[in-house]
């Protein structure tokens, strides 16, 4: 990914210099190797701070809602999966394509710092990504980890290396590759549970929620100007759980609001400080939508109908719930 980073720096520099773009949205180096933060670069010199590595997971697409309202053009770097969310925002007319210059960047899979911690890595001084491994140099000695073992959850079932939208690409012809898993496997497992077991599973997971709203705020399709939960007149508090019922309902309502629009980008689960597997709720919706209305991947295209905004006479009736044995 270092090669790609070098391409990114030099192309961004050129595009700034020739005036094709006025600003560059990328990732800026931090205190540690694993903590780059999204940032806007306005000068060629500042691009020295531009990084792209296994920890550039934070998706930049959503920032374009505000960024493309400004004067001038912004260059944005999108990983393959980020292009789906960008497309979906285009479909909903939330971003201005004219003001955007997209460079699709190749991706070797993003890594999960929490997984490193779970594997006992702490006191990190520096990290080296090389091929199949990541070497952590720590205060307590060096540790080598297989890249496969520390991939982010969403990357385990990567949608593929194709960019769905771009003006140009920054890719290499020998990217790191890995076997992907069926993204619906765990959903299937949950479907196989009894309602009581499933209820207990979700109550257990959601009991950790602290209502920080990171899942909502990071979500590219949670793009309402004012979220219903932020309305002081709604009678519910966005910032606290009155009881466990409310805590659970927040997530279920959010899942309904993003149904048919969720691009399965994985940001919600990635940002959750309590590691709640929110993607499972969304994937259940995606799985059902696929089953009821035919395969659909939000963000694969900008045009065309989407299942929940179109009506066909053959659409399933609500009674499908009973037919499938639910209650």
């Amino acid at each position: 990914m270092r090669r790609i980073r070098d391409m990114m720096r030099s192309r961004a520099g050129e595009l700034l210099r020739e005036g094709t773009v006025n600003r560059v949205l990328g990732w800026k180096n931090g205190e540690f190797y694993y903590d780059p933060n999204p940032a806007v670069f306005e000068t060629e010199e500042s691009l020295d701070g531009l990084v792209y590595n296994g920890f550039s997971a934070a998706m930049l697409s959503k920032y374009l809602i505000d960024a493309t309202k400004k004067e001038g053009r912004i260059l944005v770097f999108l990983k393959p999966c980020d292009t789906y969310s960008f497309n979906h925002l285009l479909r909903e007319h939330k971003v201005n394509r004219e003001n955007t210059y997209v460079i699709g960047v190749g991706c070797d899979g993003m890594l999960d710092i929490e997984k490193l911690r779970t594997l006992g890595v702490k006191g990190i001084k520096s990290l080296d990504e090389n091929g199949d491994d990541l070497v952590a140099h720590t205060l307590y000695g060096d540790k080598t980890l297989a890249r496969r073992d520390i991939l982010l959850e969403k990357c385990l079932s990567c949608k593929g290396s194709e960019h769905k939208v771009y003006d140009e690409l920054a890719v290499v012809d020998d990217p790191w590759q890995w076997d992907t898993l069926d993204r619906f496997a765990k959903v299937g497992e949950l479907e196989g549970m009894t309602p009581d077991e499933r209820f207990a599973f979700w109550r257990g997971e959601l009991s950790r929620c602290i209502r920080c709203n990171a899942c909502r705020n990071a979500c590219p399709v949670c793009s309402c100007l004012k979220c219903v939960f932020d309305n002081p007149r709604s009678g519910v508090q966005a910032k606290s759980n009155a009881d466990s019922f409310e805590e659970n309902m927040f997530h279920i309502i959010r899942a309904f609001h993003v149904a048919g629009r969720c691009t399965d980008c994985g940001e919600c689960s990635r940002v959750c400080p309590q590691n709640i597997p929110l993607h499972l709720l969304n994937r259940k919706f995606i799985k059902d939508i696929n089953a009821f209305y035919g395969e659909y991947q939000a963000g694969a295209d900008v045009e065309g109908k989407s299942p929940l905004t179109e009506y066909k006479t053959g659409d399933v009736e609500p009674s499908v719930v009973y037919e499938r044995g639910g209650a």
Binding site: E31, K122, L139, R208, I210, A214, N217, G235
Partner: protein, 346 residues
């Protein structure tokens, strides 16, 4: 007096402590470790350096009922339904969280005293725990905290096969009395072991990458200079305005009081608030901080300038590093201190 207990008796210690009061300690819930109530089958994780949420919850809970009202005809009755009187122990509190209570004390115990907080402080005993293997996100030393020997009513160290118990305050000594059957006196050799361990811990603490953060320039006289710094725009531009940093922070202290219509009465409650949220300090005229830049700035100005200006120079950050580890976009107080620390020439 240093006491000790063999590590394999730790279950008995928990049992005993829990027999007279509620015992809270770090517990694993599907991989995430948070302080929770001890039960015989709880998965206790004293090895976990940092719980996701801090120990603050037990003194200043995320939500708590204050009072309820019920109306019948023309009468309004007031129902006291606060619940802050349970005696409890929080066990395994790290040095950063232990210090955070001093910071909260200055807010909640000054006039007018917050009686909920005060009661919990009186009813709670803190058993702190020394850190031997800090993480790279830790920078408690920057705030003068010695993680090798944290403050607390009792301080424990786990070294090898032993747990060392050091009762420090009256409360701590009384707690030691209540479990004295399990504790024996540490020997001279033990004291040597402890000394060595403390030295080793301090050596590692001194090597932490964020240990060199400098607070020079964060003082009241620099208030306007910092407030008007052009760097806030850049620092805040990626912030998604979630409440993660404030909710995991042991020193964040803002709250909101609201009435909830239960359908048959009113429940008045208070809950944590976050300066990162759009309805923070919302007034009839709107929000005084309209942009995320202003909200973001508030959080750090409060911790690094306003609070110390009002509290003899004490900062309201303890360097626990939770915001460093948990921010979805990796922006945090360490980066802010780094960027704004050196005086920006005007």
């Amino acid at each position: 007096m240093m006491l000790k207990l063999s590590k394999d008796k730790i279950g008995e210690l928990f049992q005993k402590l829990a027999s007279s009061r509620t015992l809270y300690l770090p517990i694993d819930n599907n991989g995430q470790v948070n302080f929770g109530q001890w039960t015989p089958d709880a998965v206790v994780r004293l090895d976990q350096l940092k719980t996701v949420k801090s120990a603050k919850d037990f003194f200043f809970p995320q939500t708590e009922n204050i009072v309820a009202f019920k109306r019948q005809g023309k009468d309004i009755s007031i129902i006291e339904n606060r619940d802050q009187n349970e005696p409890f122990v929080v066990f395994g509190v790290r040095g950063c969280d232990a210090r955070s209570l001093d910071i909260l004390d200055k807010v909640f115990l000054c006039d007018p005293v917050d009686s909920f907080y005060k009661a919990r402080r009186e009813n709670g005993v803190i058993v702190s725990m020394a850190c031997a293997e800090p993480e790279e996100t830790c920078f408690c030393g920057v705030f003068g905290i010695d993680a090798a020997e944290p403050q607390g009513d009792v301080t424990i160290r786990i070294i090898g096969d032993n747990l060392y118990w050091d009762g420090k305050t009256e409360k701590g000594k009384a707690l030691g009395e209540s479990v004295k059957d399990l504790l024996v006196q540490a020997t001279g050799q033990d004291l040597e072991i402890i000394k060595k361990q403390d030295e080793r811990s301090r050596e590692i603490l001194s090597m932490l990458p964020l240990g060199d953060l400098s607070l020079d320039g964060f003082e009241e006289s620099a208030l306007l200079e910092k407030f008007n710094s052009p760097l806030w725009k850049e620092l805040s531009q990626a912030c998604v305005g979630c409440g993660t940093c404030t909710y995991v922070c042991p020193t964040c202290q803002c709250y909101d009081i609201q009435d909830f219509d239960t359908g048959h009465g009113i429940q008045r409650f208070r809950c944590w608030d976050s300066c990162m949220y759009s309805d923070f300090t919302l007034m009839a005229h709107g929000n005084s901080r309209k942009s995320q830049m202003e909200r973001f700035r508030q959080r750090f100005m409060h911790k690094l300038i306003y609070y110390p200006a009002n509290n003899d120079g004490v900062y309201s950050c303890v360097g626990c590093g939770r915001c460093v580890a948990k921010c979805p976009i990796s922006m945090n107080i360490a980066k802010v201190i780094r960027a704004l620390g050196v005086s920006v020439s005007v």
